[in-house]
Symmetry: C2
Subunit: 370 residues, 2 copies
Amino acid sequence: MKDIDFMARAIELAKKGQLKTQPNPMVGCVIVKNNKIVGEGWHQEYGKDHAEINAIKNCKKRFGLKKALKIIAGSDFYVNLEPCSIEKNTPPCSNALIDYKIKRLFCGTLDPNPKINGRGIRLLKKAGIKTKVGLLKNECKQLNKIFFTNQKKLRPYIILKSAQSIDGKIALKNGDSNWISNPESRKDSHHIRSKVRGILIGKKTAEKDNPSLTVRLTNKELGIGKNEIIKQPTKIIIGNLKKSKNNNKLFANNANVIIGSRLSAKQVENLEYIEYKGRDFLEKFLKDLLSRNISSILVEGGQKTLNTFIASNLFDELVIYTAPIFLGDGSISTLSLKPPNSIKKSTRLKKVKIERFKNDIKTTYYNTNI
Amino acid sequence: MKDIDFMARAIELAKKGQLKTQPNPMVGCVIVKNNKIVGEGWHQEYGKDHAEINAIKNCKKRFGLKKALKIIAGSDFYVNLEPCSIEKNTPPCSNALIDYKIKRLFCGTLDPNPKINGRGIRLLKKAGIKTKVGLLKNECKQLNKIFFTNQKKLRPYIILKSAQSIDGKIALKNGDSNWISNPESRKDSHHIRSKVRGILIGKKTAEKDNPSLTVRLTNKELGIGKNEIIKQPTKIIIGNLKKSKNNNKLFANNANVIIGSRLSAKQVENLEYIEYKGRDFLEKFLKDLLSRNISSILVEGGQKTLNTFIASNLFDELVIYTAPIFLGDGSISTLSLKPPNSIKKSTRLKKVKIERFKNDIKTTYYNTNI
């Protein structure tokens, strides 16, 4: 096996932590001695052991404590992200690697946080450990696109979502929008919900639709254990929404709700109001969300809210489900943006993914630059 | 080999006539004796021998005239379409099959023309030849969707085409539309042009864009021989367009042009004016086009023309290239249709095909019902 094969395995392991590590990154670690894997681990859940420590534990389990110590000394570690150098929930991994006297460290990318970027590597180098940074760099970045966005842009990873007709409409004039997309598309959108920490809508949509904004999938559909509890994303409303019959589903089951508006800040059980005044409202709100560990959000509408995010260039993915129907003139358009001066000078999104759900088409436009 | 394998081979052979048989259907024929193929043929070009005759010729070439006659007597014929029973450019094939004393005929579909539908089969049955209709029926229909549409709907097969932004716009307010789609998409649209007999636009587009409406691909790109001449589709204009500097590219190289409008009917070399008065203009025009052997058309715009075809439900395919840009409010929308009364009651197109050209997405919505 080659270096990149071991790193690919580390990425594979890292993915096992998906949905559970946010706001932490997903990290996998492979320990190699004499070209053989002698230990594997990954960061399983926010607040728990890091990948490197789990790989060391795995090695000990495989070979017994005494033999494992001998094996790890002089071994190579493959990790998709730079080992941490700061104590937070757990002791820094860099120190552990030094203590265990490893020989070489291969890592995919440096930590994107400018304050610690390269610090772990410097610690290791100083201790005489050989380091190589950049193995499968793009794959490693892609794996942790949420974490990289959080660190570099100081805001949650933002996914915008809409379901529209061929002629780009999200509802008839009278508001009728049930259902534009088919059941398979709608199920897929619940999978997106399950992967984010927050779902954001505007006040008007909250009052008009009284949505639940919950993940409605079975544990099997989510690929999690029978008895695991489904972690519901926090519901986030923009605008001075007051609890009422028109929006009571949002607050059902003591759900976590955050409302950002001009209303005075206060916290009542799981309902938090954040107060904003003046300009840069959206940027500040997003920063506040991240500080509350909401590392990723799905913006589901309505039209005005979606367009505000696009117009402010505050999005990483734009997901559009297009159903094979026409809703005609006078219906509400998905997008309502300022025109560019010329087509030549207009920005082209650089990456597009296409999926299909029966006759609905899902297009994901990527706007990330991490 | 089984019956369906022989029929699949007949379809494969039929496809070799693509682009050349219109307004005739593509037809392939396989002659089988003792479970072995002893002759193959296809309809190569409009006006030339039919598939059955070419397969017989092929058998004669393989085995010599005398032996071939013996082999064909008592053999089975596999043809994707019912053998013709009417003399047009060539003698009817049904008679030939009877004269050659074949044993069985397998055909994919009956002739869709209501006047001859089943007539060839009846002739053969009467002569004691066993017949089986319906083998790979759907594939055989799909192969000749143009011919079936012509026969059943008495109009050309109609493809509508547009290139739009993510927000469904075909041009900026000032008319700027160069270029929304990328070079790869534009090349693909020339491939569509190469497969139709006519390209239709509205008068306004003809005057605004002064388009050439020609197939601009190399012989290699078209998959035809080096010295073959590229057959250019007829240019069709709706509206009282008069030759001028603003539209002179349309008429260059003595191109075939048809103009349908209130202007008096007349023919000047390759330019024909067809006169219409009153209602049902579009239906009549389409019928007239078909009577001029224009069995398929590509409608390229502008917006009003495209929408007229959709609103009249006069289309078989709607092709949309979507480029990853936003053109914003005030720009010209691709579609401008009447809204349905409710989403539940709105018509869903039944079949969708997705392709991609780099970051452009090509969606083909099928509206055929043949």
